[in-house]
């Protein structure tokens, strides 16, 4: 008998975990799908007739997706490290690797995909109705993306607000990789938190992340203030090049960081599944 990975057994674990997916995450999904609808309704009720562009809406969907990623592990696998209620999970005749793969499958792949697909469908319906939503999100995004790419390839001037999206246009592969990696990283952090903490799992992990953010921000400010020469060398002629170079370095560093954090957190989660005592 293969005690590490058996496809048939993995299928059973995925089926078993999937049986609780709708029950445990269904309400959260519905609430998060409903938020864009509430925003749309609110927009229609205000007297200013303000229109919400597709990019703002995609930003909201992205934020809500991240909220779902944050809460999914604790909703789907709340009891797996509980000293009493987690015994059934530990005693389930499957290997730690199979349990881990199933957890990754639902937290990193299924939950965000289900949310994003549903949210885009809701957004499309609302855009079709009209009102405060203007234009379809996905075609508008792809169009803007092509425009930015064209502008950069032809050394055209970029408006200030376009700088925020510039990194995704400079490196299309970076954009995709970074987006996937940031999803994996966020999910893996909260999967690990779910295995480490027994109570207030999500809250504790958010607290730790806030603390780490403060520390890294202080470190970054320190670094920048010690390397002022980079900015002093910038002028109107080379500003785009300097910013491009900096974005390149930042992009590479963030990809490496995201990959390292994801691997460490995923390994930690697997290790906890394997060695958790009850």
């Amino acid at each position: 008998m293969n005690n590490t990975l058996n496809i048939n057994r993995l299928g059973k674990v995925i089926k078993r975990d999937g049986a609780g997916f709708a029950q445990n995450l269904g309400l959260a999904l519905i609430i998060l799908w409903a938020i864009p609808v509430i925003i749309w309704l609110f927009g229609n009720m205000t007297p200013f007739n303000g229109k919400m562009d597709p990019f703002s809406r995609l930003g909201i969907i992205g934020t809500l997706r991240n909220i779902l990623i944050i809460i999914a592990p604790a909703r789907l696998y709340k009891y797996c490290n509980d000293s009493r209620q987690g015994m059934g999970y530990a005693m389930m005749p499957a290997s730690s690797l199979e349990k881990f793969i199933s957890m990754v499958f639902y937290c990193i792949i299924v939950a965000p995909i289900v949310y994003v697909v549903g949210a885009l469908a809701v957004d499309s319906v609302l855009a079709l109705i009209g009102g405060s939503y203007e234009g379809f999100a996905v075609p508008a995004y792809l169009d803007k993306y092509a425009q930015l790419k064209h502008a950069l390839e032809n050394n055209m001037f970029l408006s200030e607000e376009d700088y925020s999206s510039v990194s995704s246009s400079i490196f299309p592969s970076f954009f995709i990789t970074s987006n996937i990696l940031s999803t994996i990283m966020l999910s893996s952090i909260f999967m690990f938190g779910n295995m480490v903490f027994k109570k207030h799992k999500t809250g504790k992990m958010i607290g730790i992340l806030i603390l780490l953010s403060i520390i890294s921000m202080i470190a970054f400010i320190n670094y920048v203030s010690n390397h002022e020469t980079i900015f002093q060398s910038m002028n109107e002629d080379n500003a785009t090049d300097v910013i491009k170079r900096m974005l390149h370095i930042t992009a590479q560093a963030s990809i490496i960081l995201q990959a390292v954090v994801s691997v460490v957190m995923l390994w930690g989660t697997y290790h906890k599944i394997k060695t958790q005592k009850y």
Binding site: R9, R84, G88, M91, P93, S96, E98, Y278
Partner: protein, 274 residues
């Protein structure tokens, strides 16, 4: 076969087992007895792989429980004392769980549910505590694992349910199944368990079957208290005296009296049974 060799285990600063060695042979219904807090549940958790020994070895048919390999996990089932159920019916629960166990028998589950008089249509949270326990027992037995560990299974059961519990365990456990019943309510499992294991704080005081026990210990039911008895207890109409079986006489075991005798004469009885 379960082999425990030189096992050490402690929770933080509380030592539970110190160098204990023990064996459980296949096909028996063991009674694991001991006072509250001696480590009966901990021992079952160690055998199931839910805890890891700090020192020593545990092997179940040659497999190490703490590795929690699927091959091991599908040969054991642990029914904890505390009833923890999901928001589902016992039928759905057993179907979901049974998929992982090669000898799982849904028909047996249905039969056991009927015998234990549990309503099949109700969800766990609609059942009483005793009903839940019986439903989980039916689930556990229908998986037909080689090893079944029951932690205080009769706690919360009413008198008829206790009788039903004894009946299904005796009737449906085959010769290949090893059952370990951890309990401090010895009367509930009388006429069911054989052999008996008595645990003490960091020691095993007794691990013997009935024939070995009666070969060496004599249970005398009479009108008077005997001076040379390990333990004497007043019963309606007389006394029970637990004493050394010097004349090789046959007697019926009274588990409660045996337990009290062992607890009061730990070293003497331990040496006697070796």
């Amino acid at each position: 076969m379960i082999k425990i060799n030189n096992l050490d285990f402690a929770y933080k600063n509380t030592q539970v087992f110190r160098r204990i060695s023990l064996e459980f042979e296949k096909g028996n219904i063991y009674g694991l007895l001991g006072e509250n807090g001696v480590g009966k549940t901990t021992l079952l958790k160690l055998i199931c792989g839910l805890q890891k020994p700090q020192h020593g070895e545990i092997s179940v048919d040659g497999l190490t429980p703490s590795k929690r390999q699927p091959q091991f996990l599908q040969s054991v089932y642990f029914l904890p004392e505390e009833v923890i159920t999901e928001d589902t019916t016992p039928m759905r629960f057993v179907q979901k769980t049974g998929a992982f166990y090669p000898r799982y028998d849904f028909e047996l589950f249905n039969t056991l549910m009927k015998e234990l008089e549990v309503d099949l249509s109700k969800k766990f949270n609609e059942l009483s505590h005793g009903q839940k326990k019986k439903a989980l027992l039916a689930c556990a037995m229908s998986l037909q694992t080689d090893y079944l560990f029951l932690d205080e299974p009769t706690n919360g059961l009413d008198i008829p349910s206790k009788a039903l519990f004894r009946k299904v365990i005796a009737q449906y456990c085959n010769d290949e199944t090893t059952v370990i019943i951890s309990t401090h309510q010895v009367k509930d499992v009388e006429n069911l368990i054989d052999p008996i294991v008595i645990l003490d704080h960091d020691d095993v005081l007794l691990n013997a079957n009935f024939s070995k026990i009666t070969e060496r210990i004599f249970f005398e039911y009479g009108p008077e208290r005997l001076e040379n008895a390990f333990y004497t207890e007043m019963l309606p109409g007389g006394y029970i005296n637990v004493m050394r079986n010097v004349n090789n006489e046959e007697s019926n075991i009274n588990i409660e009296a045996l337990f009290n005798a062992v607890m009061k004469n730990k070293e003497q009885i331990k040496n006697l049974m070796q």
